[in-house]
Amino acid sequence: MPESTPFTSRRGLFFGTAAVGAGVMLSGCTSNKSDDEPASNDQPAAADTPGKAVTIGFAGPQADHGWLNAINDNAKSRAKKYSDVTLEITEGSNDTAAQIGQIETLINKKVDVLVILPADGKALTQVGLKAMRAGIPVVNLDRIFNTPQAYRCWIGGDNYGMGLNAGHYIGEQLKDVDDAKVIELAGLDNLELTKQRTQGFDDALKNYPNIKKVARQAAEFTVESGQAKMAQLLQAQSDFDALWNHDDDQGVGALRAIEQAGRDDFLMVGGAGALSAFQAIKQDNGVLKATVLYPPTMAASAIDLARALGQAKGVSGLAEFEIPSSLTLYSAVVDKTNIDQYMPTGFK
């Protein structure tokens, strides 16, 4: 496995600190807001004094899922904070052709910076290149383009790390259990990110010889599929110790199935960071004990980066003059110990 080498080093890096990670790597401290707006670190990434006016074009997929909806909200509210930023946001679309058209419109409007969360990273590479060639820097959000030439800066989550951290969290919890059994409720198998999450999870579990993954089923990121697949898993496995569920949205269904089956003999770790999951972790009266973040606050950071690019500034807190070309966010584990800190970032 090529992952094995970086894995050990990564492990050294975060071991023991898994529960304390920051939402966004480049932000140091945190401060929470209590109003309805999606919360994130309020500290602007670049210099916070108003500068040159910047028009940022934002194109994302259709917000048909809680996480994607949170992405839009984060981008919008972040942009609102800056008096020097104008946000041109397109109607979300899952259709590659439609999204290409929307981005081309933004290019023609000569926006200063583009933030693109492509419906399909590979399929939208060309239009990213086109924007770059037209002199518009592109901040590629999460789903990565085929070539670094198509973006100035990529910022996104760490799917492999999500699985890895979930695996380590479960591993630590079950350290003293002999012959522990773990099951996995994965997301949509058609997506590469699902494979990466599973890979990370499996790699982490290799460190715990007492743990064995006994079953895995893929749901579809929907409540309905989460309930259906979880019900089958519970029927198949009469006895296990832990469950990792890739996605908190389908987790609503999974929890429903668990409740329907009357099971409470295992611990469950979720994924993504939905508000409902946070609330359940805080209440601590069910199987859900933790969730691994895939933070939608990355959209707010993308706006920060776009603004900095538009104003030709660097990132405060880094020695370099230039903004990094790639930022991988940390998939922190949220459990009872740090839940209050993350509660405001939970998405509906």
Binding site: G66, T222, Q227, Q235, S276
Partner: protein, 339 residues
């Protein structure tokens, strides 16, 4: 002047030479090879499940699980069978289920409790069916197009209502129906609804003028029109019926998942069409059975169950599903051509 031939009393009309065989033999003969072959497939699946996972598969809890999981798509499939029998198609079923489940679980609706949720789900389903029916029967639109348009707009509206968020149901009386030990007459509520819808569907199709008209319209719409049947009104009713089934299914889904989400009912249209087809329903209309469709649903649900119990992954499941569709249709073609 010719008098209408009045139906003579059957007692005076028994003709020995052409006397009908006993009723049970008629039933057996009419439970044709198609249905029997489906039963055979189901039996084979049960054997496979029983051999591979005897403890988990051959368990009343598992039977309950399979039937419960199949009940939502099962109810949709009953409605779809009627539509396909009439020579139409309803591509909007999944979207209607999504819209109805979402509309019925908004905060505002939940204030009205159990009845509010049930009423809204059914009303939204019927409303969408009405629009489909009017567009097709009186607007002259092709069913494929009209229901495709409904698919798009109902999904869009569902997304607009939820903003992509999951709407959790907080009404206990609704949630309780989906609990582990909820039984009505000793049957899990969802399974009971599925069974009742199936039986009513069977009765309507086989024992009522509505069913006859459906078959006539599907078998030969022009002949039905010239025989004095109001073909357009029948079409309207059929899409209404399909919408009603979607509304009921949405309510079942709310019970099952304890929530409403705009992604609900994903690809139900394909699942329902596939189940109807392997159940022997002619895609061009005029022939089909409710029993066949329901067996189709049960076959698919059982496959999913067996695969999940054996921890086989979704790629294998999808391949198997495709293979089963092809195999079932081929077997039926073969058996049908030899009789």
């Amino acid at each position: 002047m010719t008098q209408p031939v009045s139906p003579p009393r059957s007692s005076t009309d028994k003709i020995p030479s052409t006397a009908q065989p006993p009723a049970w033999r008629g039933v057996l003969a009419r439970a044709d090879v198609r249905t029997l072959s489906l039963l055979g497939v189901l039996a084979a699946l049960i054997v496979v499940g029983g051999i591979t996972k005897p403890d988990e598969f051959l368990d009343t809890r598992n039977l309950q699980l399979v039937l419960t999981q199949g009940s939502v798509i099962g109810v949709v499939t009953v409605g779809m069978t009627f539509v396909i029998m009439s020579g139409g198609i309803d591509l909007s079923v999944g979207a209607i289920v999504a819209l109805a489940s979402v509309w019925a679980t908004t905060v505002a609706t939940q204030e009205y409790g159990f009845a509010g949720i049930l009423f809204t789900a059914v009303l939204v389903g019927v409303g969408c069916g009405l629009v489909n029916g009017l567009l097709i029967a009186y607007g002259g639109m092709v069913p494929f197009i009209a229901t495709l348009a409904m698919l798009a707009s109902a999904r869009g509206l569902a997304l607009q209502i939820t903003d992509g968020a999951t709407q959790v149901v907080t009404i206990d009386s609704v949630l309780d129906l989906g609990e582990r030990d909820a039984y009505i007459l000793g049957i899990p509520p969802l399974v009971l609804v599925f069974a009742v819808v199936t039986i009513i569907g069977w009765l309507i199709l086989n024992r009522t003028t509505f069913g006859r008209r459906t078959v006539a319209v599907g078998g030969n719409a022009e002949a039905a029109r010239l025989a004095g049947i109001d073909v357009r009104r029948q079409r309207l009713y059929l899409y209404l019926l399909s919408g009603l089934c979607c509304g009921i299914a949405a309510f079942l889904l709310i019970i099952l998942s304890g929530s409403g989400q705009n992604t609900n009912g994903n690809l139900y249209e394909l699942d329902a069409i596939a189940a109807a087809i392997i159940g022997g329903t002619l895609l061009s209309g005029g022939r089909g059975t409710i029993v066949g469709s329901v067996l189709g649903v049960l076959i698919f649900t059982t496959i999913t169950n067996i695969f999940a119990l054996n921890n086989l992954q979704s790629d294998v499941q999808q391949i198997a599903k495709g293979a089963i569709i092809v195999a079932a249709v081929l077997v039926q073609r073969r058996t049908a051509s030899t009789t």
